[in-house]
């Protein structure tokens, strides 16, 4: 299985401002003081090897959209956030090379940041494409049609050319979709959200975003441990610090890296991807949060197996 992150921000897409780019360039130039580079390759090696990710790169700003390559070759995509636009363009390129034009979409929930990419999804205008939108919510079609009503968008849903189907999935049974076994778990979030577990070829990926793990429901967290059990990769909502998630931002429907790490440790999952980044956080802040999460995992590991903690960014690919 291969997982591609097309959008990793929570709540609202963000774009890098000119002063942020300038600050990164200044930091890079300072780090290169006194160095000379014979060619572009040497310069690239310096950038890749000696500059922090927050200086040489960016976690990106598109909202939730994650592709999973697995199963029978159909596209599998979690959520329709603004990252979907880039995915759609790349999918059209791949479809031009012979990739099947069948798309299985899995919606965590229907909040705007998780569906806003669909009006800009080029494959929806492809008459040869079939798009199946799976959701735990029976009102997914209403949500997608509503955002393309004239008051919000100039292109009506009915003008789309692809064959579009909506399927409501039950949580209590596994579903075989596109050659992948898919299981859902209801999560705590406004209007509910659903986590998805994808199993294929002896590998497993869990997508669990917009999920609050409340202090007064800790005795029910075993069901998440069971859902994450033995997963090769768990993508988790880690939007806030634990302190914020239990105080100012309690009941906002999101969680922290600390809870995600503990759930993954108890589940014996191999890798955790921090996801659904707070839109106000800079690249430097996200890099710090990632480093702190790694420290916390080591401090609290005890005799348990290590959980590798990675920080998702737009463009990241992970093979599991």
């Amino acid at each position: 299985m291969r997982v591609r992150f097309w959008g990793t921000r929570g709540s609202l897409p963000v774009a890098m401002r000119a002063d942020t780019v300038r600050d990164k360039l200044v930091a890079g130039v300072l780090a290169a003081s006194g160095r000379t580079f014979a060619d572009r390759a040497e310069a690239a090696a310096f950038v890749d090897g000696e500059l922090d990710f927050a200086v040489r790169g960016s976690y990106g700003g598109a909202s939730s959209c994650v592709e999973i390559e697995a199963g029978d070759g159909a596209f599998i995509v979690c959520d329709l956030g603004s990252g979907l636009r880039e995915f759609g363009l790349d999918a059209m390129r791949r479809a031009g090379g012979g990739h099947p034009r069948r798309y299985h979409i899995f919606l965590s929930h229907l909040h705007w940041d998780h569906i806003m990419g669909f009006p800009f999804f080029v494959p929806a205008f492809d008459p040869e494409a079939t798009i199946v939108i799976h959701s735990g919510h029976p009102d997914a079609e209403t949500a997608l049609r509503r955002q393309q009503e004239e008051i919000s968008f100039p292109v009506a849903f009915d003008w789309l050319r692809a064959k579009i189907e909506f399927v409501t999935l039950a949580t209590d049974v596994p579903h075989v979709i596109g050659g992948v076994t898919v299981t859902l778990l209801e999560q705590y979030h406004s209007h509910k959200s659903y986590g998805y577990r994808f199993d294929a070829g002896g590998r497993s990926v869990v997508y669990s975003t917009d999920s609050e793990h409340r202090s007064d429901q800790m005795d029910t967290e075993e069901r998440f441990e069971a859902f994450f059990a033995g997963a090769d990769l768990v993508v988790c909502d880690t939007m806030y610090s634990l302190g914020d998630s239990v105080s100012l931002k309690q009941d906002w429907g999101h969680s922290s890296s600390l809870v995600a790490i503990d759930l993954c440790r108890m589940a014996r999952a191999r890798t955790l991807a921090l996801f659904h980044h707070e839109p106000t956080y800079s690249d430097a802040q996200l890099q710090t949060i990632h480093a702190e999460a790694i420290s916390y995992e080591a401090l609290t590991r005890g005799e348990d197996a290590a959980v590798q903690v990675i920080c998702a960014y737009d463009g990241l690919e992970v093979d599991v």
């Binding site: 202090s215 007064d216 800790m218 005795d219 967290e221 610090s241 634990l242 302190g243 914020d244 239990v246 105080s247 922290s256 600390l258 809870v259 790490i261 503990d262 108890m266 702190e292 999460a293 420290s295 916390y296 401090l299 609290t300 005890g302």
Partner: protein, 109 residues
């Protein structure tokens, strides 16, 4: 995790010992609730000097107790975290939720 408690006229000092994790957070939470109920106008100090580490469920038990303490007018604070607990309090940002004293004496003073 062991739990010891020391009562003074002005304060109640609880001292957890060992790890506070997924296996024992509910016991820890029960000790905190009992101590807050017994505080009766005294301060409640949690001596972290014997805690190896505390995972998120232990931390959430602490913040739940803090909310209960505020409701009942009990002044609750943390004291004497070792290096690991200091780091965990910083990473979790619980050092912004709680008053953290360097030592129990400083907390009592």
């Amino acid at each position: 995790m062991d739990w010891n408690r020391r009562d003074t006229p002005d304060a109640l000092v609880g001292r957890p010992q060992g790890r506070v994790d997924e296996s024992n957070w509910s016991v820890f939470a029960a000790h905190l609730a009992t101590a807050i109920a017994d505080a009766g106008g005294r301060r409640f100090i949690i001596d972290l000097g014997g805690v190896d580490y505390m995972s998120s469920r232990g931390l959430r038990a602490l913040s739940t107790a803090l909310a209960a303490a505020k409701k009942t007018g009990v002044d609750m604070a943390l004291a004497a975290p070792g290096p690991a607990m200091r780091e965990i309090l910083a990473i979790s940002r619980y050092d912004k939720l709680f008053v953290v004293h360097a030592s129990v004496d400083a907390a009592l003073g």
